[in-house]
């Protein structure tokens, strides 16, 4: 931590009252450049103020100077672990704004890539959460081993491991190479073995249970009012999954359940993510079985020099972290007039203080890990 980071306030009779610690922007457990100004009474958290902006890269301002097509690579870098879902949310919003349709094969490809991204995100999260709890590196190694297999698939399709830049307005950039579907089916068939191994090692673990059960409890009323979405919301018991509510893309055709939690604590959020990975595998099996042949981009879609009519549109998807939305206002020109990203990680941080009050500082670290933030999205 960077000095000066802790100040001690003394009471009237000279006894120490509150210790103010800044879990600074460089810290092993803050998932990026995030800072929490915590006031402690002994070890109990009395006040917690999150501070961010250390990765504010002015995406919204740069997008006002770029064309619609030119902003797609920037969307990759928002939530940098899940780049393909960011691409989809933006492409969907521009399609709403310009009135473009998407062919069926492209929709199926989008669903497949989005669910693979969900697998990457949730397994990486389980690894990082356990690293915060002290299992230094081993669950993360297992999770990243699976992530590398999925990144190989992405690389053979899009050309890049992380910043895929694959979705376009009206479809996708290029078609699946031969053999890709078989490789993906292979991966989906072998993935449950990894999940079973992961769960048998971790879910019954005494330390995990003791550190996560009853910690960071969130009530459903507060969660809905604070705009929390994604696995955090479903862990409190509220049944709101945008894949089921809006049924965007072709999600209406797949049969899958939405796992819900009971108590809203850190253990529920961890379990929801493991269960969501299993549901994603079900969706992947169905999509890989049913994917039709056909064009992958709407032939009438104009990519370069796209000038949508003046108006606005708000499009949202169920990203792995929550509701990722884009709000675009067009004035008829080649660049958007206003380009706004609705970041799930930022809004999920609103109730971080409420969840951590009265707990110890070690719990605050675990609770932050379970909120699943990525600073690229929080700060944009």
């Amino acid at each position: 931590m960077i000095a000066p980071s802790a100040t001690l306030e003394l009471g009237e009779s000279g006894e120490p009252q509150l210790l103010e610690v800044s879990l600074g922007p460089q810290h092993p457990s803050t998932h990026g450049v995030f800072r929490m100004d915590v006031s402690l009474d002994g070890e109990t958290v009395v006040k917690l103020k999150p501070v961010f902006g250390y990765l504010h890269r002015n995406h919204e301002k740069i997008a006002e100077k770029c064309s619609y097509l030119g902003s797609i690579p920037y969307t990759d870098r928002l939530d940098y672990i899940c780049s393909l879902t960011n691409n989809w949310a933006y492409a969907m919003t521009v399609e709403k704004l310009a009135g473009l349709g998407v062919p069926e094969r492209a929709e199926y490809i989008r669903v497949i890539l989005s669910e693979l991204t969900r697998l990457i995100n949730h397994s990486a999260l389980a690894g990082f959460l356990l690293q915060d709890m002290g299992a230094l590196g081993t669950p993360l190694m297992y999770a990243f081993r699976e992530r590398e297999k999925i990144l190989d698939l992405f690389e053979s399709l899009t050309g890049a491991r992380m910043m895929c830049n694959y979705m376009r307005f009206g479809g996708c950039r290029c078609d699946l190479p031969p053999g890709w579907i078989e490789q993906t089916k292979n991966l989906v068939a072998n993935f449950p073995k990894f999940l079973d191994e992961f769960e048998s090692l971790l879910t019954g673990n005494e330390i995990l249970r003791a550190r996560t059960e009853g910690v960071g409890v969130l009530t459903p009323q507060l969660a809905v009012n604070a705009g929390v979405t994604g696995p955090m919301l479903r862990a409190t018991g509220v049944n709101y999954d945008i894949r089921k509510v809006d049924q965007y893309g072709v999600y209406g055709r797949f049969k899958f359940r939405v796992p819900l939690g009971e108590r809203g604590d850190v253990f529920d959020r961890y379990m929801i993510r493991i269960l969501e990975m299993r549901e994603s595998l079900k969706i992947l099996e169905q999509a890989l079985r049913d994917i039709p042949a056909g064009p992958i981009i709407d032939p009438k879609a104009k990519l370069r020099n796209l000038r949508p009519k003046a108006g606005e549109a708000y499009g949202r998807i169920e990203g792995p972290k929550g509701e990722l939305g884009f709000y675009l206002i067009s004035d008829g020109g080649p660049n958007p007039y206003r380009y706004r990203i609705r970041p799930p990680s930022l809004i999920n941080l609103t109730i971080l203080e409420d969840m951590c009050l009265g707990r110890t500082i070690a719990d605050a670290v675990v609770i932050l890990g379970s909120v699943d933030i990525v600073l690229g999205e929080v700060d944009r």
Binding site: F52, N58, E60, K96, L97, A98, G227, A313, Y314, E323
Partner: protein, 211 residues
């Protein structure tokens, strides 16, 4: 969810004195919005959240938008006397659109699974009267987003619990997302400068010596 006209009528019936205006949307997305006056905005918001049929309990997105003053030239047909005969003449008339800052709220309902309902609140002008009522006491999700609008646009939200800069450092004085923001002049080598980058290049590297 019912049509926006019916919703507007309901809002005006439930909150006396509220003035709501429908703002049309030109794009195929078909998402028109409702513009509210600042005096009754919070009461309308509470009605939208608590009404048993509407139950808009989830404020998904709060955006700030900057609309600077624009001069629009329009051709209007005017009846004028031309050499003694009344004729219809086309005249070019200039009109200035008002300048204001705006906060746009996207509301959804988790209980009834409908939405979006889009609300707009406008300030009076861009220079000194930039206050808007904060909707954070109604929906807690507006807390960080309204702070961000304050930081980047300069709209002051009355009733917000903790209004301070969120993304830029506290000593920063500008509001960078406004359309008239000028970046600090920090130019360095660019291989193929063009447009305004070329103008800055000429200032910083005067003299055209061939490479």
């Amino acid at each position: 969810m019912e049509a926006l006209e019916q919703l507007k009528a309901r809002v005006e019936a439930a909150v006396p004195g509220a003035q709501a205006e429908i703002v049309p949307n030109g794009s195929p997305a078909n998402q028109p919005s409702l513009s509210l006056d600042c005096g009754h905005a919070r009461t309308v918001a509470e009605f939208l959240r608590d009404d048993p049929d509407l139950r808009f309990d989830y404020a998904s997105n709060v955006t700030g938008v900057d609309w600077p003053e624009k001069t629009i030239k329009e051709k209007i047909k005017v009846k004028k006397l031309v050499s003694g005969v009344e004729k219809e003449v086309e005249e070019v008339c200039e009109r200035k659109t008002p300048a204001y800052l705006e906060a746009v709220y996207h509301l959804y309902s988790m209980a009834r699974k409908h939405g979006p309902l889009i609300l707009r609140l406008r300030t009076e002008n861009r220079s000194d009267k930039v206050t808007l009522p904060s909707l954070t006491p109604v929906w807690r999700s507006c807390e960080f987003q309204e702070r961000e609008i304050f930081d980047l646009y300069g709209i002051i939200f009355e009733g917000h619990t903790d209004l301070r800069r969120i993304l830029m450092w506290p000593e920063f004085t500008d509001h960078p997302m406004r359309k008239d923001y000028v970046e600090p002049d920090d130019y360095e080598y660019e291989p193929t400068p063009h447009d305004d980058v070329l103008t800055r290049a000429r200032q910083h590297y005067p003299g055209g010596t061939p490479a």
